[in-house]
Amino acid sequence: MHNTFKEGIIRLGKVFPMVLVLLISIICWLPKAVQGQDTLAGEAEGVVETVDSLVEETAEAAAEITENQPAEAYARGGYSKQDLRRGERLFKGLVPFGSGAHSCASCHYTSRTDTLNWNPSAFDLALAWHKDPEYRIQQKMNNPTGMRMMTDHLDMTVTLEEERQLEAYYEAILEEGPGELRAYPVNSIIFWGLGVLMLLAVVDLLITKKVRFKAIHVLILIVGLVVHMQYAVAESRNLGRTQGYAPDQPIKFSHLVHAGENAIDCNYCHTVNQFSPSSGIPSNNTCLNCHGVIREGTRSGRFEINKIHQAEESGKPIEWLRIHDLPDHTFYSHAQHVNAGGLECLECHGTVEEMHVLYQHADLSMGWCLTCHRDNDADFVGNPYFGIYKQLHQDIKDGKIDAVKAAQIGGEDCMKCHY
């Protein structure tokens, strides 16, 4: 027995690199598997990062202000555990408010979701409270402003004590962050299950030797490695591609509301797409053209629109998360495609006017670009620039060809896009 164990250890030592590889790959895959395939983990990190920096900055600002304030009945900080416990229960509707039974959490979600919720989340609220030392929950609740808030918060009042408890809960939320998205358990169970099975198989094969038929070990290892490889291949292929990417933006901006329901032309906000490689992300003052007047949204109330005004006041532009992102070595020009090529926005971006949350419609792979260049007709006859292609013009005249594809006039040249 002793010898077998020793032998087993030695054998294990020999396959140690392999086990190590297995372990490390599992560790690397851990966050991915937990998160599920359809989301990009980075997006959550991105938000947390922003929040962290915001919290730090605002904490300093708040500290300064509180120092200067004279002692009053209302003061932030110094919450007890009792406060926190009651605050959380209040927010989640487990204990009634003085004004009756309400659950804040039924509208203001306490964790991140992948469905659209127009109401600010609990974290958003906590952040807004934290950023503004003048922000009083009691005042907001007892004297609601704006149609949306008035209807939804009808008959809700908060006492000074309840306010303090809610504040304690806000502070706790700020520390925790916006929460993680629900995981897709199927992927992770398969991945982990196979991983454990393979590990067991290796251990049994070399040390314990409980299962006689070695074919079983081999089978488990082969199936496990194949499935793991499949994951790896599928993910490798999509490396750098982000089709369907729909991150949570800092403002719950809906293209459906703006471009769809209100039928605003794309060019109104994305002003420079006719002249520049970039289509241009609207600057804050563009938003304010309308939202200087429209201070309240039908669905989102005042909370989201207020962020535009906050940005204006603080002088810090809104940091949108970039969705359509070509690699650095690829040069794409909106002016070329929209202006000279006459393409419609939707041909690449999909039906944006139907998207509450904007997502990446095309995969933006090189194959996708080239397919379009090969299949679509260029505005060849209409543009005098192409007069230099004498032979092609002759061919059209002679009836040899009907139209000219982009690929025929250099649309397949590498240095069209890579330089």
Partner: protein, 985 residues
Amino acid sequence: MEKKYWKSLKEVQRAEHLQADELPADHQAKSMIDILADDDNSKSSSRRDFLKWCGISFFSATVLSACENPVKKAIPYLNQPEELIPGKASWYASTYLRGNDYCPVLVKNRDGRPIKIEGNTLSSITKGGTSARVQASVLSLYDTGARYKQAMRNGEGLLWEEADADVVKKLGEITAQGGRMALVTPTLLSPVTRALIDEFKAAHPSLELVTWDAVSYAGIRKAHEQLFGQPIIPDYRFDNAELIVGFGCDFLGTWLSPVEFARRYAKKRRVSRDKPEMSQHIQFEGMLSLTGANADERVPVKPSEELKILISLYNKLAGLAGQSPAMEVSPAYDVDALAGQLMEHRGRALVVSGSPQKEVQMLVAAINQLSGAYGNTIDTSTPLMTGMSDDDAFETLLSDMSQGKVGAVMFYQTNPVYQYPDTEGIVNAIKNTGLSLSFATTRDETAEVCQYILPDHHYLESWGDAEFKAGHYSLMQPLIHPLFKTRQFQDSLLTWLGREADFHSYLKNWWQKNLLPQQNVYPDPTNFWVKTLQAGVLEVPARGMANLLPNPGALGDIMAALREQIQGADLEYVTYPSLSMGDGHDANNPWLQELPDPVTSVCWDNFSAVSPATAASLGLVEGDMIRINDKVEVPVLIQPGLAAGTLAIALGYGRTQGGISADGRGGNAFLLSPKRSFHGLVSSWTKVGSGHLFARTQTHFSMEGRAIVRESTLDKYKNDPAAGNELREYHLKHHNTLYPDPEFPGHHWALMVDLNACTGCSTCVVACQSENNTPVIGKDEVRRRRIMHWMRIDRYYTGDADNPGVVFQPLMCQHCDHAPCENVCPVAATTHSQEGINQITYNRCVGTKYCINNCPYKVRRFNWYEYATKEQFNTHTSTDLGRMVLNPDVTVRERGVVEKCSFCVQRIQEAKLKAKMERRTLKDGEVMPACVQACPSSALVFGDLNDPESKVSQLIKDSRNYHLLEELHTLPSVGYLTKIRNPRS
């Protein structure tokens, strides 16, 4: 055609171990696979190693696939400026100005940051030309290492308000006590700054303005004053001169107004069937300068001998005109023929000298007077405003300062601690002054010894103006918010005058008051200002200059001085401002440091060049360190073409406080000439070391004596336009290929190089580097033959090693229609475009370097390391701020990929898009690669061969046209026009 061309001395001497001795010691690096091997001693790799790495590759692929896409942000403006289109560049006119260096420029501004300098075509002085230093100046803006970032007192930072309070208090005290103060500046070409200083002087009557240039042209001004009673520097019209005689004058490289002179010179040097005529250029010089290299006949003589020739030339001409000779000299060179030629070309000849000495310039002016140059090849109606330096006043100031007689001294754009020959003396003088302050923008030796450093803006952050030539004004405007807490010099003066620090308004008011009445295009002041600012230049009729009447007695007074100067010695030295460094203020610019000197192809160093014969007689070999006159230590470089007994040393090197790229490079040649004559006698020299290693780009690319440069003479050209190009016909007849003929249905881009117009000034090299994000790699890597420039200037010698003929040949990717590189790429990373461009796709390249091996022109470069971002190679773009200079329209290449000239495809694409959007055809000349745009002499022409009307289509049919290595049938898209020289028969 039978001329024998050679590229280096070693080649001509047929050294057996060609170049092998030059390789760095650690060049024999281990191969990658050897490094992986288990055993350190074993050099070979085994199957096990291979399997190991296979496993690791598999493993890393697994890990990599688990990576997540980074979250990127897209941050718009809060309030987008109306005129700004994100992602699109805008151009603003401004002016490069630094002492006597001047160039009207257009600055490309992308999303609020200047990234590229180009010449302003509206200026009649430069007509869109630039120089290497102008091109590189944008990099100095982002010099995080060396720029002063805030006001400082004795090395400690302080607020501007505190500094102002200190300075105002101290200046007030000095004024109250009647003490003296001095402001030391270089020649101030800015009329507004002069006006402001006058106001400042009115408030501080004891202020003395001392003008002091490190490289001075004041000799010319003083010579004209003494000889003609007019203190002017006339305009030299090389475009009217049929005979040019230069005496140690590098007018194509650095002298006076090289950009303008190169254009004028090239205009007269171009030949064509319609104009089979060109100027003749004879150059006497000790060193081998760029200008000398372009001359038809070059006479290498020692500086003292050069002066003797000049005197005897004057004697001869004076004799012919019935005047008395200056003094008897007997040079080894017989000037009779030259004098005869000058008289023959009366009114069409021009003699120039690079000497800073008044006496020499008087002789030159007298010779020009005798040969009828004034009014013809020398234009006195628009004199140059440069060369105001007053050395005597500066000397007086220094001696007064050392005696403690001066209360305050201020230095603006001058660095005398580095540039003045007596370093110790000047440092003591500054220390003995009550208040010393410097307005230096970047670190320099003078600022470091001053009490206060009140940093001025970089010129791309400043308002200003310039009047380089009488009546030729231009404006300078800021292109970016100040990067650091600096303040414009003029704003400092305004603050100390108790006025609002608003030099912008001051400038505007001055222009509207003084210049508006001088023109009649824009009567409205606002319109005048806006339109002129947009154009960048304003040219008003110059103040007329009276006819110059010589003062015959004047020459007699200078004989004593001349007699002293013609005293020669066995060994003499010449110092010269180099093409890239100038007077040294740009020494911390790595683009300039890495720009190879066109003649010696050395970069990152200066040296004492010496002719092979002299080196042999002195027992010196290349790389020996010598100490000259007990002042300067420089390595020896053996350079054919130098005069016997002459050492030539470039100025601008040997900085001690210039910054990381500048410090400790070479020796400071300013220390050599106590009288700042920039030549003199070598009284002593000692060998102090040996084995200095030069970074030379010369030995990278040997062309082994093939007919790369084709050359002929004017006489032959007149009879046969294809003279020197006979091979072309032979090769055309024998062209044969297995490959299908390439087709270009749309454009077919081509570049033509006129070897007669190219002076080798290397502006294109820096322009290309700036446009295409070409990395700097540092001296060590250059020594490993890894220089990354996409464009280079090849230099070949002809004839004997003592006085070789020199030809320059700009070389970039030839964009062959049958490109040898394309066939061998295993991953199709390099392919041919429909428009004739040899494309390289960086993201596809796996770095096999097969293409490099197969390129007969050796124009492909390999990124051995992460050059752009690693600090050990690149001191500028490795920082966040430095990266702002990168052109966002060109990929920054990473390690392991090949790169090369793309014909600036990003510019082609931009121009095509513009034409498409405007629904019109592309005009000839609309697309200009960076090199073509930058060229001061328009030696490069770019265009579409499919357009029969285009300039390139015309030029490619010229019988002078040939292609490099056309026997290989690579069908290059770059053509060269044979070099025609005009030697004396």
